[in-house]
């Protein structure tokens, strides 16, 4: 069940120029959290900004800690970054359908940029379930490869790509994955990152016939499935478009069901 609670900030660490790691005390949410789910946060004490902001669950701790990782994008996240340890913030969660957790399988996780957020949590749970993990992680440059040390300490096969080549392969993480796809096979794959990268990921999994899930983003209001505002275009069995809530129908979707074209254009049909 989704909790609506005031969570105390245990710590807020700056991880990069505009990226923060936030540790909250929220046992009821941490206990129920599944990788791929998110929390919906009030980022103001006033009515401006008005709406909550969704942030994926990055990790949970043994003592009810809930860990988030986010980038300052606008006023909501800027407010969040201004809150220090001891402050309380109002959060709803855990929300949404997370990733399908495999057991004893070979899986690939493909993270682009802040796409690392839910995939780190997924990697941890997937390891516990006895899976073998190839983890592909791409970012603009080495400074933006957040949580690299944490990943290195995990029993996963880590592959790194950066746009500028400052760490690992130079180029998009999907390109890097493509190299390995020819030689390594997967039972399932998972991706989170910018939409263009996810579309490329979806192209690859179709070509290599791999079951795949992606985590999508849309602007949200309620986060509860009530307002129908956060939809994304999916394809039904006959290839016809329909709109599904990202908040409760997702944020994780089967890559094969997602309509990867320009969603706006469909309006004209």
């Amino acid at each position: 069940m989704i909790q609506n609670l005031e969570a105390e900030i245990l710590a807020s660490h700056q991880m990069g120029r505009e990226v923060f790691l936030l540790k909250l005390q929220a046992p009821a949410i941490a206990a129920a959290a599944q990788p791929g789910q998110f929390v919906h946060i009030r980022c103001s004490e006033t009515l401006d900004p008005l709406l909550r902001r969704p942030l994926s669950i990055h990790d949970v701790g043994d003592r009810g800690e809930l860990v988030l990782l986010y980038q300052i994008k606008g006023r909501g996240t800027a407010w969040l970054a201004s809150q220090g340890a001891g402050n309380k913030i109002n959060i709803l969660g855990p929300i949404g359908r997370g990733f399908t957790l495999p057991a004893n399988k070979r899986v690939a996780l493909v993270a682009g940029g802040l796409g690392i957020v839910p995939l780190l949590f997924l990697a941890r749970r997937a390891l516990e379930a006895g899976n073998e993990i190839d983890f592909f992680y791409g970012a603009q440059d080495r400074e933006r490869l957040y949580q690299l040390e944490t990943l290195k300490a995990m029993k996963i096969n880590l592959f790194v790509a950066t746009d500028d080549g400052s760490a690992g392969f130079q180029g998009p993480v999907t390109k890097l994955w493509e190299h390995y796809l020819k030689e390594r096979s997967y039972d399932r794959s998972y991706a989170c990152g910018p939409r263009a990268e996810l579309a490329e990921f979806a192209r690859l999994v179709t070509r290599f016939s791999i079951a795949a899930e992606v985590s999508l983003e849309e602007r949200m209001a309620c986060g509860l499935g009530a307002c129908r505002g956060c939809v994304t275009a999916l394809l039904d069995a006959r290839g016809k478009i329909y709109y599904e809530n990202v908040c409760t129908g997702g944020p994780v979707f089967d890559a094969a069901n997602v309509y990867w074209g320009d969603q706006v254009k469909w309006n004209k049909l």
Partner: protein
Amino acid sequence: MEQTVKVPRVNLAVQLAGLTLQNPVMPASGTFGFGEEYAPFIDLNSLGAIVVKTITLQPLIGNPPPRLMETYCGLLNSVGLQNPGLEVFIRDKLPYLRRFSPPLIVNIAGRTIDEYAELAERLSAADGVAALEVNISCPNVKEGGIVFGTVPDMAARVTAVVKRHTHLPVIIKLTPNVTDITEIARAVEDAGADALSLINTVRGMAIDIKTRRPALANVVGGLSGPAIKPIALYAVWQVAQVVKIPLIGMGGIMTAHDAVEFLLAGATAVAVGTAGLVNPGALCEIIAGLEHYLLEEGVEDIKELIGASQM
């Protein structure tokens, strides 16, 4: 043996178009889904009424995303009446909703007058529907919706037709996007409306300066939330001066304080939309806040507040 009897010290109940509401607070159509989404957070039985998302005859897939954009103290939406259609509503949603005691108000929209008629007829035959709220004011669909809401004659025709096809109380929901809302209100009252809901969202827009494209795929959206409260309150005040039928006031109600303003302006009940999207407990907090306000002010019956603001 002594007994402690908890006597409710204030009366929150109001009468609205033949319905008795235990309190004047209900969700605004389209912001409360079909009720089940809010069940984890509030007791639906504590509401004054339950109001569901607009139902159309056929399922509607709605507008493409992005459908939402936050504005200063406001929310733009262009959901476009996405809904599963009348049949699925009756089959899949109504049984759940029937479990609750507050009157169920079903909001309807047609593309044609005939569709309004059919919706009214079939919902009146369904068990568990207490009243119809007729949406002639959605800014997000091209056909139907708003065209019926901006021309007094059309508004009156829809009202009359719906009235002929139902025994249920008929609430007409008005748009603020008109030169003179009292003209529409009067036309609709004359055509037999039992109550009015006002206001629906105010048309608005935002532009994403990065992509230089309208922030909503649909370009125009409906503005709701605290930003529009003064506009809504004035609409209620104006209309309260010229009609005799009861009003459901809505638009930017965030707190019990806001709700009291609407009652004082002449609303018999209030609906809460955007506030519930931000805080799922909002409806219940507003109900509790009203009770608290009455106790503090020494008002025994909330009905004393209705229309009590005078120059």
